[in-house]
Amino acid sequence: MTTNAAAAADLFAQVPERQSRGLFRDAWRRLMRSWNGRVGLAVILLTLVVGLAAPIVDPYDPTIDSNLAIARQPPSWEHPFGTDRLGRDVMQRIIHGTRISLLIGFVVVFVSGSIGTVLGLISGYSGGFVDWLIMRMMDVLLAFPAILLAIAIVAVRGPGLTNTIIAVAVVGIPGYARVVRSMVLSLRERDYVDAARMIGVSDAAIMFRHILPNSLSPIIVQMSLGVGGAIIFAAALGFLGLGIRPPQPEWGAMIADGLPFLRQAPNLVFFPGMAIMITVLGFNLFGDGLRDALDPQLRD
C-alpha cells in the first residue's frame, strides 16, 4: 500500500506547477508578475492608505481653514507644497482631497458599472425591440461629448458631490452596457446556456448566474480603468467650477484656483496636477496589468 501511495505522490510530483488553480488565482499570479500590475497596485494601495488615514492622523475642517497672514507662501519645510491664496497648506489639502477623488472614482464606477452591466445583460440576452431600445438610448448618451453631457447634468442639478457623481456616472454607463452586451451576444449561443434553458432555468437566473460570471473579466478591466477615468473627469468638472462646492479640497478645483498665479506660484498648480496624474496613472497601470492577466488569449 505504501508503494502505491508513494507512486501516487510521484505521479502528483510530475504534474507541472503551472497547473491551473482557477481563473482568478491565475490572473492574480500573472498580475503580480507584470510590472504594470505591481506598480499600479502599489500606487492604489498608497492612495487608499493616505485617503483612509488622513482624517485619523490629521483632523481637518476645510470650512475654517484659512489664515490670510501666511497666504501664497512658496514651498518650505513647514509647508512642503507651499500655501494657497487663503493661506491653506497645499499638501494638507491634496492629502484630504485624496478622499474625495477616491470616493468619486469608486462610487462612480460602482454605479455606472452596475447600471451599465444590467442594461447590457438585458439588452444582449433579450434581443429584438428591447435590445434596440436600450442600445439607441446608449447611442443618444454617446452622441453627446461626455464633458458637455456632464456639464448639462450639473447645470440642471447644481454643483456638489452627489451631482458630480451622478454626472460622471451617467456618462460612463454606455461603455459598460456595450461591453457587456457584446459578451452576452456570444455567450448566449453556448451549449451550457441552451442546457440551462432546457431544464427550465428562468431567464433572470441564466443572465445573472450563468452568463454574468463568464463575462466578468472584461467588466472588471473596464471598471479598474474606469476609476482613473472618473477621477480625471471629476477633476475636469472641478476645474470648470462645476464640481464640488468650495471650500472642499478637490484637486481639479485646486488647479483652477491656482491657474491665475501660474507664473508667480506654479506650486499651486503643479502639486495637485501631480496628485491627479499619479493616482490616475496608478489605476490605469493596474487596469492594463489586469487586462493582460485576464485575457484568455494570453493564458499559458
Binding site: 490670510l68 497672514a69 491664496r85 487663503l86 493661506g87 467650477g241 468650495p246 484656483d257 491665475p260
Partner: protein, 538 residues
C-alpha cells in the same frame, strides 16, 4: 553631402529658435543730449491690449466698458467731467443755463464738423436726443437704449427745441440736479453724425459700418474679435493730438496680454489683478493708481429669516475680519471701506468707520437674535472677476471661514453671470456679494442707485424699506445746492450703516497700465484723454 545639408538645417533651426527666444526688449537708445529728450513727440501708434471686443460703436445702445473706451475717442458729448473732480466742463456745449433745473438752455460750440463733413449744430443735437428718448424713432434700428432708460427713467426729456443754429433748449419732466453729470456719459449720450446714421442705417456703429463723431480720433476699421483702429482727426476743434493712430487689440488670455505688454508689442493693457505685482516690478512698465470709484459689498434679503433681524446682519458685520482681506487680495488697489461711497464721491461720510472684527460680539448678537448656535444659509459669490472682487471665490471662502468660526455655516453658491444678476434682482439670494463702479462720480448714480425706492415699496433684491432714506434719496436727485446735497447723502450713509443695509467691504480702484515710453498720461477716471498722450522711443 546629404549629411551636411542636414547639419545646415539643424544649425538654421537652432538659430531661429534662439532668435525667437531672445527677449524682445527694444535696443538701448543711443545717448542723446538731454535737451532733445524732453517735450512731446508727434505721431506714433499706440496699441492697447484688452480682454474683449467692443459691442457697439454707436453712442446710445453702448453700455459696456470695452465699447465706451473706443466711443469716447471718436464721439463726443455736450459735457465732460473734469479729471477726478467730476466737475462738469464745457465740451460740445460751450455754456449752459437753467433757472429751475428743469429747463436747460445750451449754447453750442461753433465751427465744429463731424468726421464726414456734416456740420455740428442744434439740429444734429436734436436728432441725437430724439433718437435716445423715442423708442419708435426710425433711426434706432431696434436697438435698446438701456442707459437712457436707466438714467432718465425717472425724469425723461420731454421737449427739445432748436432756438437757433447754436442754441438748444431741453425740458425735463422733473427738475434734476444731476442732468449735466448724466449728459457727460459720452458712450451713451454722445453726438453721432446724423448723416452717417441715415446713410448707413442698421450698419452704423457695427463692424459692417463705421462710427462718425466730432472727436479727436476718426474711425478707420473694425475687425471683429481682433482690432479697432482710429486715426488722428486733423480738423479737430481742440489741440492737435500727438498720436497719429490708436489700435485696440483683443487679447482674451490674461497671461498672453501681459506677456505682450512686457515684450513691448502693446503699449497699454488691461491686466488681471493677479498680474499687477509683476507689472509693478517690471522696469519698463508703469502702473498708475487711480482714486477709488467702486465699492465691493455684501447684501442681504431683509424680509426673510434670519436676515430680517438687525442683530444677525450686525453679527455678520463683526464676525468677519474684513481688514485682513485687503492686503491679501487687493494690495494697494483697495482700501477697507467705511461708508458705502468711496471718498471721491460727494456725500461720502468720513465719520463712518469700518466694522470692527469682534467674533465674541458677533456670538453675543446671534444669541440676542435667538440663534445662539448660529444658523445655515446660502452665500452667493460672483462668477466673474471685477476690480471690487478680483478673486471672488477665494474672498467668499475667506468670509465663509470667519463666519464658520462663530457658528454661521454658509454654502458657497454661484451661477452664470447673467443668471446671477437676474436672480439677485428677483430677490432669490439670502446673502450675496456684488459691487458698483461709478459712471459719473455723482452720488445719485451711487448710493442713490442702490437704495432708491418709494417709501413702503422696497426693491425685490433686498426687500429693504426705510422711509427716511427713501425720502432723502428722492430729494437728493432734485436738490441743486451742492452743500445741501452733500448733507442729504451724508445722512443717507448714516442710515445705511445703522440698518446694516449693506456691508461695504472695500473701496477698490482699477489701475491703468502703460509701458514707460508712453508719456503725457494723467491718472484720471472716466476717460484716458488720449489726445494728450505721446510715445517717446528716444
Amino acid at each position: 553631402m546629404h549629411k551636411r545639408n542636414w547639419m545646415l538645417v539643424l544649425v538654421l533651426v537652432v538659430a531661429l529658435v534662439l532668435g525667437a527666444c531672445a527677449p524682445a526688449a527694444p535696443a538701448p537708445a543711443p545717448a542723446a543730449p538731454p535737451a532733445a529728450d524732453s517735450g512731446p513727440v508727434m505721431d506714433g501708434t499706440l496699441i492697447v491690449g484688452r480682454g474683449g471686443d467692443s459691442v457697439w460703436l454707436d453712442s446710445g445702445p453702448a453700455t459696456d466698458g470695452e465699447s465706451a473706451m473706443v466711443i469716447n475717442e471718436i464721439i463726443e458729448p455736450l459735457i465732460r467731467l473734469e479729471g477726478t473732480s467730476a466737475r462738469p466742463i464745457p465740451w460740445l456745449a460751450e455754456s449752459w443755463e437753467t433757472e429751475d433745473s428743469q429747463t436747460w438752455v445750451f449754447k453750442l460750440r461753433q465751427g465744429v464738423t463731424f468726421h464726414d463733413g456734416t456740420p455740428f449744430n442744434a439740429e444734429a443735437v436734436r436728432f441725437n436726443i430724439d433718437r435716445w428718448r423715442n423708442p419708435d424713432n426710425e433711426y434706432r434700428f431696434g436697438r435698446t437704449f438701456e442707459y437712457y432708460n436707466y438714467q432718465f427713467g425717472n425724469a425723461p426729456i420731454e421737449e427739445v427745441n432748436v432756438i437757433d443754429d447754436y442754441t438748444i433748449e431741453i425740458k425735463l419732466a422733473k427738475p434734476s440736479s444731476v442732468f449735466l453729470a448724466k449728459l457727460s456719459l459720452g458712450f451713451s449720450f454722445g453726438m453721432n453724425s446724423p448723416t452717417a446714421i441715415m446713410e448707413q442705417g442698421d450698419a452704423y456703429g457695427t463692424p459692417a459700418g463705421s462710427a462718425v463723431g466730432t472727436g479727436p480720433f476718426k474711425f478707420v476699421e473694425w475687425i471683429p474679435g481682433d482690432r479697432i483702429t482710429v486715426e488722428r482727426n486733423e480738423d479737430w476743434w481742440g489741440p492737435k493730438p500727438y498720436l497719429s493712430r490708436i489700435i485696440w487689440r483683443v487679447i482674451p488670455d490674461n497671461s498672453a496680454r501681459f506677456a505682450e505688454l512686457q515684450a513691448g508689442t502693446i503699449h497699454q493693457a488691461y491686466l488681471a489683478q493677479t498680474d499687477l505685482p509683476m507689472a509693478q516690478a517690471d522696469p519698463n512698465i508703469e502702473v498708475y493708481v487711480l482714486p477709488s470709484l467702486s465699492t465691493g459689498y455684501i447684501a442681504f434679503q431683509q424680509c426673510t429669516e434670519p436676515f430680517d433681524k438687525l442683530e444677525v446682519r450686525k453679527a455678520i458685520a463683526h464676525a468677519v475680519n474684513w481688514a485682513a482681506l485687503i492686503p491679501a487680495f487687493y494690495g494697494e488697489f483697495g482700501q477697507l471701506a467705511g461708508s458705502f461711497q468711496p471718498p471721491a464721491i460727494p456725500g461720502h461720510n468720513p465719520n463712518i468707520k469700518p466694522y470692527e472684527y469682534d467674533p465674541d460680539l458677533a456670538r453675543e448678537l446671534l444669541a440676542q437674535a435667538g440663534l445662539p448656535d448660529g444658523f445655515e444659509t446660502d452665500f452667493w459669490y460672483i462668477p466673474v472677476i471685477r476690480g471690487y472682487f478680483p478673486d471672488s471665490k477665494a474672498i467668499a471662502e475667506a468670509i465663509a471661514a470667519d463666519l464658520a468660526r462663530v457658528g454661521i455655516r454658509v454654502n458657497l453658491m454661484t451661477e452664470d453671470w447673467g443668471a446671477y444678476l437676474a436672480d439677485r434682482n428677483e430677490g432669490k439670494f439670502p446673502m450675496w456679494m456684488l459691487g458698483w463702479g461709478s459712471d459719473n462720480g455723482d452720488p445719485d448714480n451711487y448710493i442713490g442707485y442702490h437704495f432708491m425706492h418709494q417709501p413702503g415699496q422696497p426693491k425685490k433684491e433686498d426687500c429693504y424699506d426705510n422711509p427716511e432714506l427713501a425720502e432723502l434719496l428722492i430729494q437728493g436727485a432734485i436738490e441743486v445746492d451742492p452743500a445741501e446735497r452733500e448733507r442729504i447723502y451724508m445722512r443717507a450713509e448714516e442710515i445705511v450703516k445703522e440698518d446694516v443695509a449693506r456691508i461695504p467691504v472695500v473701496w477698490a480702484s482699477t489701475p491703468t497700465v502703460f509701458r514707460k515710453e508712453v508719456k503725457g498720461y494723467t491718472p484720471v477716471v472716466f476717460r484716458s484723454w488720449y489726445e494728450y498722450i505721446w510715445i517717446d522711443n528716444r
